[in-house]
C-alpha cells in the first residue's frame, strides 16, 4: 500500500499535544527536583526527603491509608462484581449502572454527604481521623474498583468453573484457584486506579478534619508556599511510586495471563 500523507500526519497533532503538555511538564519538574537554587545538579532535595523522619512518616502514613483503603475496596468490590457479573439478572446493565453511577457525581459533594452523616454519628470528627479517612476514601473510590473487577469477572468463561465443579472441587477452592486468578487483570486495574489517587487526595482529609499530612498535602503545601523545588521532589517520588505500582501490575497480569493460557 502506498504510504499516505493522511495516515502519517493524523497522529501528529495529538503526539505534539502530549509531548508539550505531558512530557514537558515531567521534564520541568525533573529539572526542579534535581537542581539546587543555583541551577546546578543536586540530589539535596531527595536526600533531604529521605533523611527527614517526618517526610518518611508522611510517606509511610500515605502508604498505610492507601493500602488499607485499597484492601477494603477490594473486599467489598470483589463479591459485588462477582454477583453482578455472574448473577441472574434480567436487566444486568441497569443494575450495574446503579453501582457505577456515583462515579459521575462530584466527589466533593459525596464527601460532604458522608461527612454530615459521620458528624451526626460521631459528634466530633476529630476523634477518629484514621477511621474517618478510610471510610471516606472507600466511599469515594469504591465504584472505581467495582467496574474493572466486573469487566474482568464477566470475561471469565463459565466453563472453567463448571469444569472445576465437575471435578469435585469445593467452592472455596474454586474461588481460590479459578475465579480469583482469572480476575487478576481486574484487580490489577482497580488497584492502579485507587492506590495512587488515595495517596494524593488531601482534600478529603482536609474536609473531615484529619490534620495529618499525606503526600498530596505536601505538594499542596509547597505549592502554596511557591516552593517549586520541594514540590517537584515530592511529585517525582509519587511518579516513582506510580511506576513501581504500574510495573508490578503489568508483571502480575502478564504472569497470570500465561498461567491461565497454560
Amino acid at each position: 500500500m502506498k504510504k499516505s500523507l493522511t495516515k502519517n500526519v493524523l497522529a501528529v497533532p495529538y503526539a505534539l499535544f502530549l509531548t508539550v503538555f505531558v512530557v514537558f511538564p515531567v521534564m520541568v519538574i525533573l529539572y526542579f527536583a534535581f537542581t539546587n537554587d543555583h541551577g546546578q545538579f543536586s540530589l539535596a532535595g531527595f536526600a533531604g526527603f529521605f533523611v527527614n523522619p517526618r517526610m518518611l512518616g508522611t510517606l509511610v502514613y500515605s502508604l498505610e491509608v492507601s493500602a488499607v483503603t485499597t484492601a477494603v475496596c477490594l473486599v467489598i468490590a470483589w463479591p459485588t462484581a462477582y454477583i453482578l457479573a455472574k448473577g441472574d439478572f434480567r436487566h444486568r446493565g441497569a443494575v450495574l449502572l446503579m453501582f457505577i453511577m456515583p462515579m459521575w457525581i462530584n466527589f466533593t459533594l459525596r464527601i460532604t454527604a458522608v461527612k454530615e452523616i459521620l458528624t451526626f454519628a460521631e459528634g466530633n470528627l476529630a476523634f477518629h481521623p484514621f477511621f474517618n479517612t478510610i471510610l471516606c476514601m472507600t466511599y469515594d473510590f469504591l465504584p472505581f474498583m467495582i467496574l474493572p473487577l466486573y469487566n474482568a469477572i464477566a470475561r471469565i468463561d463459565d466453563a472453567y468453573v463448571e469444569a472445576a465443579q465437575d471435578l469435585g472441587v469445593s467452592s472455596a477452592t474454586v474461588f481460590r484457584r479459578v475465579l480469583l486468578p482469572l480476575s487478576v487483570p481486574g484487580i490489577v486495574s482497580g488497584v492502579t486506579m485507587v492506590f495512587l489517587p488515595v495517596m494524593t487526595n488531601y482534600v478529603v482529609l482536609d474536609m473531615i478534619y484529619n490534620s495529618t499530612y499525606i503526600m498530596g498535602s505536601l505538594i499542596g503545601s509547597y505549592f502554596n508556599a511557591y516552593d517549586w523545588r520541594s514540590g517537584s521532589v515530592v511529585s517525582i517520588i509519587m511518579l516513582a511510586v506510580l511506576s513501581i505500582v504500574t510495573l508490578a501490575a503489568t508483571r502480575v497480569s502478564e504472569e497470570d495471563e500465561g498461567e491461565v493460557v497454560r
Binding site: L10, V22, T200, Y202, M207
Partner: protein, 269 residues
C-alpha cells in the same frame, strides 16, 4: 438461599453508597442546618441555590468549561487514536506510552506539573483561562483516546479495504466509514471528559484564575466556611446533580440497550 444472600449483599453495598446522598437529599427539603432533628418542609435551600448569583455563575462557568474542554479533548483524543491506529508502528508505541501518563498519574501531580510548566516556566497568566483549559484537556484527552482505540480495533478491517477499493480516498474513508463505526466510543469518551472535568479539584485549583470557581473548588471552600445558608444550599445542589445523573444515565442506558453492547466504563479495555 444463595440468591437471597446475593441480593442482601448488593443491597447492603447500595445502601452504603447511596444512603449519605439520599439522606442529604431528604434534609435538603427541610429547614434544618445540621443532620439530626428533622425540621420542617422547606424549599429555601433550592431557592438559595437558584437565586444566589455566586452559585449560578459558578455552575454555568463550570458547565461551559466542561463543554469546551470536552470538545477539545474529544477532538484530540479521537484524532490521536485514529493516528495511532493507522499510523506507523513506532509512533503508536510512543503515543501509547505518553498517553498512559495522565491516566495513571495522580491528579495532584498532573496539576502541579502543568502549572509549573505553563505558569512558572512559560509565564502564562492564569486569568486567560488557557492554563485551566490546557490542564483539564491534558487530563481528559488520554481517556478519550482509550475509549476510541478499542472501537477501532473491534472494527471490521474489511470495511476500510472495501471503501478504498470502491474508490474512496483515505480521508473520505476515515470520515464516512470509520468515524460512524467508532462514534459510540467517541461519544462515551466525550461523556467521560465531561465527568472528569466536573469532578476535578486539583488541576482546577492549580491552574484556575483567582475569581473563577468550579463545583469542586467552590464546595471545598464553602464547607470550610461558616455560612450555613450556602452549606445547605449545597445539599440542594448535591440532590439536583444526583437526579440529573440518574436521568442522564438511564437515558443513555435505554438508547444503548437499543443498539450497542453495554456502556463503556472508565477503563473498559
Amino acid at each position: 438461599m444463595k440468591r437471597r444472600f446475593q441480593w442482601l449483599w448488593l443491597g447492603a453495598v447500595l445502601l452504603f453508597m447511596y444512603a449519605p446522598i439520599l439522606i442529604l437529599g431528604i434534609y435538603s427539603f427541610t429547614d434544618s442546618a445540621v443532620i439530626g432533628a428533622l425540621g420542617q418542609f422547606s424549599l429555601t435551600n433550592y431557592q438559595v441555590l437558584f437565586t444566589t448569583p455566586e452559585i449560578m455563575d459558578m455552575l454555568t462557568g463550570t458547565l461551559i468549561l466542561a463543554l469546551i474542554v470536552s470538545l477539545m479533548a474529544t477532538a484530540l483524543g479521537t484524532v490521536g487514536a485514529l493516528g495511532a491506529f493507522y499510523g506507523p508502528r513506532r509512533g503508536r508505541r510512543a503515543v501509547r506510552t505518553m498517553n498512559q501518563i495522565p491516566v495513571v498519574n495522580a491528579d495532584v501531580v498532573t496539576g502541579f506539573s502543568v502549572c509549573i510548566l505553563l505558569i512558572v516556566f512559560f509565564g502564562m497568566d492564569k486569568d486567560t483561562y488557557i492554563p485551566l483549559a490546557i490542564g483539564l484537556t491534558t487530563l481528559c484527552a488520554p481517556f478519550v483516546y482509550l475509549s476510541v482505540l478499542p472501537r477501532l480495533r473491534q472494527m471490521d478491517p474489511a470495511l476500510y479495504e472495501a471503501a478504498l477499493d470502491l474508490g474512496c480516498t483515505e480521508g473520505q474513508t476515515i470520515r464516512k466509514v470509520v468515524l460512524p463505526q467508532i462514534a459510540p466510543g467517541v461519544f462515551s469518551g466525550f461523556m467521560l471528559s465531561i465527568t472528569l472535568t466536573l469532578d476535578d479539584y486539583f488541576i482546577s485549583t492549580y491552574t484556575k484564575p483567582a475569581t473563577f470557581d468550579t463545583i469542586s473548588t467552590y464546595v471545598v471552600n464553602a464547607t470550610r466556611g461558616s455560612q450555613t445558608e450556602i452549606k445547605t444550599a449545597l445539599w440542594a445542589l448535591s440532590t439536583v446533580i444526583f437526579l440529573v445523573v440518574v436521568l442522564v444515565v438511564f437515558a443513555m442506558n435505554r438508547s444503548a440497550s437499543r443498539g450497542n453492547p453495554a456502556a463503556d466504563g472508565r477503563k473498559g479495555a
